[in-house]
């Protein structure tokens, strides 16, 4: 378990040094412009201090701000974030459709800023698929190979292989508009992959599909990525999609990287209040550190209400702190919690039956609204009803500090 680093301003040190793959990569320590050390793994994609500002008559829009990122070869890497946070702009800069205002983009160590898209070894799957409507499926897929003057026999073989891979054999003579949305999606994928790019960029490729098809395509995409072994950079605003598919992902907000992590860490150890709120459902509690005992802090969240926060290094008494607990970690009980557990008193405001689980909305004595999800494992009736007074209980290690409060950052600098 990596320890919590709740105070790191992630946007200021965006390559998130505790991510194992970044730290292990020897080339990251070198000057990025001196490229390709034979024998060492050069990252597939590296962004160094990327910024993009759009200047228009109405002013300047900063779409991306100081983004540093390392994406390894063969990785399924996702960019996740709310609408307008700069995911598409970042992807388009990698593909060459936008030039960064600042910074460097290295593809396998080569700086490609200023290189047009047709001279970059990456391919893109567009959200609208952008299939050429006046060409057959075959000609769409063959387009890239023809541009590279691949011999006709080889083109035929590679296109057919690719159509097999995406399960579209037999549809080669169709026009794109004669295909369903899911099939068009596969053509777009085949058209990009047939060129054997060093990385595939996908901008919300599943957004136009309905839920069932989207879920099927998620599995399909993962299978294809495993089979071809190509680096996938995947843009989505759907957190489930990002969590289920990625090897690693970043959460972006307002043009900056909030956090880089594996899906599990992103969910279990959100580094900021924003990530905690964006990924899944989070309960956020605010309090003041009362005392410190080694690495364990006692957080006061109200009158006679305090929580034990373990592994809270670097805190000092008196500072404000945000804390998050996932709803599924909370247990409701009528009796006070046993020793060593965190517990708050509250009243059940709402009970919502969700099939596999039941959701309880509880208001604490201090007025915080918390959610708890309880699995409906047995057929016993609900553990609490509306209006009941209950204890919310969880294990101290499920409390996570969020490096968010500005006071905390100042204090951290003082400590360092």
């Amino acid at each position: 378990m990596s320890e919590m680093t709740p105070y790191a301003d992630v946007a200021d040190s965006p390559s998130t040094a505790d991510s194992p793959s970044t730290a292990d990569d020897p080339s990251t320590a070198d000057d990025p412009s001196t490229v390709d050390h034979p024998g060492t793994a050069v990252p597939a994609i590296r962004l160094i201090g990327i910024a993009k500002r759009f200047v228009s008559r109405r002013g300047t829009v900063t779409a991306v701000e100081r983004v540093d990122l390392v994406i390894n070869e063969g990785e399924f890497f996702s960019l996740l974030g709310p609408s307008g946070c700069g995911k598409t702009t970042t992807l388009r800069m990698i593909g060459g459709f936008e030039e960064p205002t600042e910074g460097q983009i290295l593809l396998y160590g080569r700086d490609v800023v200023g290189v047009p898209p047709n001279h970059r070894d990456v391919n893109m799957v567009f959200q609208s698929y952008a299939l050429f409507p006046h060409m057959s499926v075959y000609d769409n897929v063959a387009f890239g190979l023809k541009r590279k003057s691949v011999p006709t026999a080889e083109i035929r073989q590679r296109v057919n292989e690719m159509l097999d891979l995406v399960q579209l054999d037999g549809k080669a003579d169709r026009r794109p508009r004669e295909l369903s949305g899911g099939q068009q999606q596969r053509v777009a994928l085949a058209r990009a992959l047939v060129n054997r790019p060093r990385a595939l960029l996908l901008d919300e490729p599943l957004a136009a599909l309905d839920l069932k098809l989207r879920q099927a395509m998620q599995i399909e995409l993962k299978r294809i990525q495993r089979e071809v072994g190509i680096t996938f950079v995947f843009v989505t605003h759907d957190q489930n999609e990002a969590l289920t598919m990625s090897d690693r992902l970043i959460v972006m907000n307002a043009g900056k990287i909030e956090q880089l992590a594996t899906p599990r860490d992103m969910y279990e150890r959100p580094a900021s209040r924003f990530v905690a709120g964006f990924i899944g459902t989070s309960n956020i509690l605010t309090g003041t550190v009362k005392t410190m005992d080694g690495t364990t802090a006692i957080l006061e969240t109200g009158v006679n209400e305090s929580l034990v926060v373990p592994e809270a290094t670097g805190l000092i008494a008196g500072q404000q702190l945000d804390l998050t607990v996932r709803p599924e970690k909370i247990v409701l009980s009528a009796e006070p919690p046993g020793p060593g557990l965190c517990g708050l008193r509250g009243r059940v405001m709402e009970v919502v039956y969700l099939g596999t689980s039941t959701q309880y909305a509880v208001k604490t004595a201090e007025g915080a609204d918390l959610l708890a999800f309880l699995q409906n494992a047995s057929d016993s009736s609900d553990v609490a009803a509306r209006g009941d007074d209950v204890y919310l209980t969880w294990r101290p290690e499920h409390s996570l500090c969020l490096g968010q409060t500005s006071g905390a950052q100042l204090d951290e600098e003082a400590v360092a």
Partner: protein, 286 residues
């Protein structure tokens, strides 16, 4: 030629203005059908007269209003009046050159205006609109005074310049409409797959805006071969088909040689073929 123009316009707006199917209620009675047929008669009578009198026997000095029997001789002697033949030749070659020049320049402009925002785009759009909206007399007179000021001798070249000038706007408008309906990521996809700017234009952009380009070409051709007013300001001693026909009627005091009817019939037939062919092609594509 207006059939061509109509088709071209319909084609140009096909993308943005898909017709909405409305179920119209049926109306009984005979007054409306009779009225409808009267309108058809009224609209088609000049054309019918022209076609019929192309087959009217006679001396050939002038069209006679009397039916002298059926003949093919005007079709056989179509080119026996050399001035008329020259005028028709001028009209056709000017229309062809106008179309070629206007299509190349207009397509480039239409692509730029339909794809990008840039400084000056607004002014260009306004000028194009003004060009279409301005009365022909104004354009004709303005061009005349320009040619006089610059001391350019009027003739074939000035007619061509004038025709390119007034038809280019129509090409731009039809291409621009098509272009702005085009997903920009199609061109980006082509670039992404390794095509340079030229290959992208000829393999992706041009095929996709082709309906707009051909509509613009048809309009340019029709407007050029039709034009009387602007041409009459700038022709010098060069004659085109409309100018010659009007002049002949003036010279002879109210009649034109039967070859004019034949040529008119042929031009009309050409227009109908193009219009019907275009409509059929359209239906196939849809």
């Amino acid at each position: 030629m207006s059939a061509i123009a109509g088709l071209a316009l319909e084609e140009a707006y096909e993308n943005d203005h898909r017709p909405v199917t409305v179920h119209k209620p049926k109306r009984k009675g005979f007054l409306l059908p009779i009225w409808g047929w009267l309108v058809i008669l009224w609209l088609s009578s000049p054309i019918v007269v022209m076609i019929v009198f192309g087959f009217n026997d006679g001396t050939g000095r002038a069209t006679s209003t009397k039916w002298n029997g059926f003949t093919f001789k005007w079709y056989q002697n179509l080119f026996s009046i050399s001035d008329l033949t020259t005028a028709l030749g001028n009209s056709i070659t000017i229309a062809i050159f106008t179309t070629l020049i206007a299509v190349v320049l207009g397509t480039l402009m239409g692509v730029a205006l339909g794809r990008w925002k840039f400084r000056g785009a607004g002014s260009v759009n306004l000028l194009l609109f003004a060009n279409i909206a301005a009365p022909e007399v104004v354009l004709g007179a303005a061009l005349l005074s320009l040619f006089l000021t610059l001391n350019i001798p009027r003739g074939y070249v000035t007619i061509l310049l004038a025709h390119v000038m007034f038809s280019i706007a129509y090409v731009v408008v039809t291409v621009r409409a098509r272009m702005s309906g085009l997903d920009p990521s199609l061109e980006e996809a082509a670039r992404d797959l390794g095509a340079g700017p030229l290959v992208t234009f000829f393999r992706v952009t041009l095929p996709l805006i082709a309906p707009g380009v051909s509509a613009g070409a048809l309009l340019a051709f029709a407007m050029s071969i039709d034009d009387y007013i602007i041409t009459s300001f700038n022709n010098g001693s060069t004659q085109t088909f409309p100018l010659w026909v009007y002049g002949a009627a003036e010279r002879t005091g109210g009649s034109v040689p039967p070859q004019v009817n034949v040529m008119g019939t042929l031009i009309f037939a050409f227009g109908v073929i193009v219009a019907v062919g275009g409509a059929v092609a359209n239906r196939k594509r849809a």
